[in-house]
Amino acid sequence: MNTTYCIARRDFQAYFNSPVAYVVLGVFLLVLGYLFFSTLFLAGFASMRGFFSVAPILFVVFGPAITMRLISEERKTGTIEQLLTLPISNFEVVLGKFLAALGIVVVGLLFTLPYVVSVSLLTPADTPFDYGPVIGGYIGLVLLASAFLALGLFASSLTKNQIVAFIIGLALCFFFYFVDKFAVLMPAQIGAVLEYISVDYHFGNIARGVVDTRDLVYYISLIAIFLVLTERSLRRDKR
């Protein structure tokens, strides 16, 4: 059996051995559900647009919350020594943990599919429901969440303390989310750079239903860079 998969499976199951998965998923779905149904019932407006504009902000918080314990906890209890002396590479460990966290995100997103169903059912029969932005939106959310998980995993590898890992992860995600919000105030060139490094800007592109390679390259590079940094951090000399 593939060793990366073994690590991923163990960490995924570990989420459900502790309250973390239930709390994170529960609160995530509660908040999203409230925002979704408030537009549906209060505004009388059946659309996924509100959902896709709010979900990225939620992942700024929930991404680091999911990843905070992955490495810091192992450093604290010392199990990291056991794990890293197994005949596997550090990168397999990092990738396995990343995939475990992504598994939680995917489970969370699966629970939001009923919203899509209800919106499509509520759409009047004469205006066909446009699946493009919804599919794009979900692809975008998975990519955006993956980027935040990579940032959060890196933060988790820096410390023994889960709370510190969460705060650092939050700061990183916050930066990559909000960095383009001041772009309009900047000169055009700097503005373009800020937009390029913003997670949300690329999400906006994909959520419109256009999956462009430039956006994919951006997400994959950001994820790869932070997974490599995490691996470096694991290799760090310890006393």
Binding site: G78, E81, Q82, P87, I88, D237
Partner: protein
């Protein structure tokens, strides 16, 4: 099933490890042939855990060579790790996993073949006596059982080399004996390197003892040899011949000149007029010369008894810190 390749199980040459300015290992050299149970002794901070962590590829080393069965750790740590079972210090465990889940996970990561996995897990469970707690969370187990879980994961893949960092620390005396017997039994098939604080443990379990201090090897011998030591104490009691009293100071000076004697203390005696000394010797056994000295001085030798240094004394002498 032991591999018969010529390379020793462990071969360490001029191993150095620095943490910043601090030199934890300052040129360590030793080699362990296959099949030996080696005890690794030394005071806290001597470099025991550092050496074990380097052997398992957890810590990089600054200079020197570390080979496990001929494989240089720095070149291919994973190839070496496949041959090694490791119980880290304090035996960290995933508290929220069941013993069964945990051992299955370790077997999967170690890529034990599917058709052999169940057998090998069952064998490790049986050897470590974990049948009763197989379906319990590790976090609920007593320290003794946790230690067995740590050992079970280390022997699961039938390693050629077992590295155990303080396998009995924190256990009660009964548990210590159980774990010790288990280690002895495992040692029939496997090379074992274990560190310990308890000298009797090394004495009873190990065939060979390495003592390290300040990052250097200071002793490498069988426990029997180390327990004899090359130093010790001799109790000497002298009585005057007829009424002439013994000149204590003159006698002490004479004895001090004997080859091998390094220190003399006067001892209390219960018969007035007698003199007793506790003589400390090193390297050379001075008993014959002491006898002759007393006889030549026209005195009566009442008692001459040697007390050999114990392993504790040898250990303390070898690892004594130089007072600054």
């Amino acid at each position: 099933m032991r591999e018969t390749s010529g390379a020793p199980m462990i071969d360490i040459v001029d191993l150095r490890k620095s943490y910043g300015d601090f030199e934890a290992l300052r040129g360590l050299n030793f080699s362990v042939p296959r099949g030996q149970i080696v005890g690794f002794l030394g005071p806290n901070g001597a470099g025991k855990s550092t050496t074990m962590r380097i052997l398992t590829g957890y810590l990089p080393y600054t200079a020197g060579s570390v080979k496990v069965s001929g494989i240089e750790i720095a070149d291919d740590a994973n190839a070496a790790r496949k041959m090694i079972g490791y119980l880290p210090e304090n035996n960290p465990q995933y508290e929220d996993m069941m013993v069964a889940e945990y051992l299955s996970f370790i077997a999967d990561v170690r890529q034990v073949e599917k058709n052999k996995k169940q057998d090998q897990v069952a064998r490790a469970v049986e050897r470590c006596g974990l049948q009763e707690v197989f379906h319990k969370d590790i976090g609920q187990l007593s320290k003794g059982y946790r230690q067995r879980v740590g050992l079970a994961q280390a022997i699961l893949h039938e390693p050629q080399l077992l590295i155990l960092d303080e396998p009995t620390s924190g256990l009660d005396p009964n548990q210590i004996i159980e774990i010790r017997n288990l280690i002895k039994e495992l040692g029939r098939e496997t090379t074992i390197v274990m560190s310990t604080h308890i000298l009797q443990e090394a004495q009873h379990t190990c065939e060979r003892i390495l003592i390290i201090n300040n990052g250097l090897l200071v002793a490498d011998d069988t426990p029997e040899q180390l327990a004899m030591g090359d130093f010790g104490f001799i109790y000497l009691e002298i009585a005057p011949r007829e009424n002439a009293p013994v000149d204590k100071q003159a006698m002490k000076r004479k004895l001090q000149g004997v080859n091998g004697v390094v220190g003399i203390d006067e001892q209390a005696v219960d018969v007035e007029g007698n003199v007793a000394f506790m003589i400390r010797y090193e390297k050379v056994d001075p008993r014959r010369d002491l006898f002759n000295t007393v006889v030549d001085s026209q005195l009566v030798l009442l008692e001459l008894k040697r007390q050999r240094a114990s392993l504790e004394e040898t250990f303390r002498r070898l690892t004594a810190r130089v007072e600054e």
